[in-house]
Symmetry: C2
Subunit: 249 residues, 2 copies
């Protein structure tokens, strides 16, 4: 394990739910001696990647990361998708999210909020596992079989709610269906009380590169609206796929 890897591990320990950490916490998590961690913290602090909180001994991610994040280029998917997402969100009134794939996780690349005060909203940069929620499942369903199998094996199957799929077998069956029908549904698999519909976006070479999804409190996505929404989201995703194909030559 080299320096960079250790640094990234330290940085990845911080999360929305645990935004600050002490050296002793990091020590325990990584199983490395505290003198080593102190050295790393000092290095990371020098480069601005982490900062010290007001409270002594507390550290958090630093603003240097914001600076870097500002320079992460938007991929063509994002640029192509945004106007279509805005249009869809306007028509449907609900939050529309574009989700990409990173290693074995999904990550929210873009979102356009719906106009309802009571709404579901992910932030850009939010990551989540692929076994729960419409976006995750639709991404998984259209991956090539090897990667799919590998991910299905390695998933941790955290149970977020009553409906979360926690069995590999069940997940396999589900994504087989999704792959056939071309869209995924999620009834509160990740967030209880919400409903999600997602459709895949493909590259010219027919690899999934992202998922387009719509999320809402589940009473606003019941049977009758749902059918129409599925059509809308699939149509929008296809439109993005088509537009991308034009540019990729």
């Amino acid at each position: 394990m080299n320096t960079l890897e250790k640094c990234v591990r330290i940085l990845t320990l911080f999360s929305k739910t645990k935004p600050t950490a002490t050296v002793s916490y990091i020590t325990k998590q990584l199983g490395l001696p505290s003198s080593t961690i102190y050295r790393y913290i000092a290095m990371l602090k020098r480069s601005g990647l982490i900062e010290q909180t007001d409270q002594a001994g507390m550290y958090c991610l630093g603003t240097k990361i914001l600076e870097l994040a500002h320079n992460v280029p938007k991929k063509s998917v994002q640029e192509t998708s945004l106007p279509i997402m805005a249009q869809l969100s306007g028509k449907a009134g609900e939050t529309v999210t574009l989700t990409g794939l990173r290693e074995h996780d999904g990550i929210c690349l873009e979102k356009v909020d719906g106009h309802h005060a009571f709404r579901v909203s992910f932030e850009r940069g939010t990551t989540f596992p692929l076994h729960a929620g419409a976006s995750g499942k639709v991404l998984l369903a259209h991956l090539d079989p090897q990667k799919q199998d590998q991910i299905i094996k390695e998933l941790k199957y955290d149970k977020f709610s009553e409906t979360t799929i926690t069995e590999p077998k069940q997940l396999k069956a589900e994504i087989a269906t999704i792959s056939k029908q071309g869209f995924a549904l999620s009834n509160g698999e990740m967030i209880h009380g919400t409903y999600g519909i997602a459709a895949p976006i493909f590259s010219l070479s027919r690899n999934v590169i992202a998922a387009l999804s719509i999320s809402a409190p589940n009473h606003r996505l019941e049977e009758k609206q749902r059918k129409q929404m599925v059509q809308l989201i699939v149509a929008a995703a296809n439109k993005i796929t088509d537009e991308l194909a034009l540019y990729e030559t």
Copy 2:
């Protein structure tokens, strides 16, 4: 120069204006042999901090950085400031920005856009040098004298426009005035055609921790409006300072 520092240097090479780079470019910029850079690129790619573009040999910052950025905690300044910024932006109709200090640069921490279609707008995470623009100058003006002198010496004095201050002496005089009057003005120092007004936000120990600023096309901030705006922005900044003091005990 250790591994992390080299990694950060590589990552920092990418910018909004140069979002992608080849190995040979990085090699030239850092003056390190290409075999070394290839090794680093491989490491950085493995950790998700950089990604390969569609074009062979092109690299860009990776989505792992977005994930990390998502977990950078908002400081209390940000949380305290946002509602006040929104109120101010609503009243003034212009873009209001909260700027922090990072090393020798300013960095945009939060912004609330004004309602005018023709407006100035920084994105969160944008960095800029301290010699140009109202925010930079106001931050610089209220730093302790040692840091101030050091930064004044080390600044590169890029000339962004006709009015950019490029002389240390001139800058010193300017920040002396700013320090006395408690706010800074900028007539297109960073972006030609725009006008900026900024006021400092202090910690309980009376150190500057951020600057609140308003920016607009300069015809909308002429003499008459300007006086009123200065009052508004100074009042808002003071309000934030006061609210922060309540929490800091």
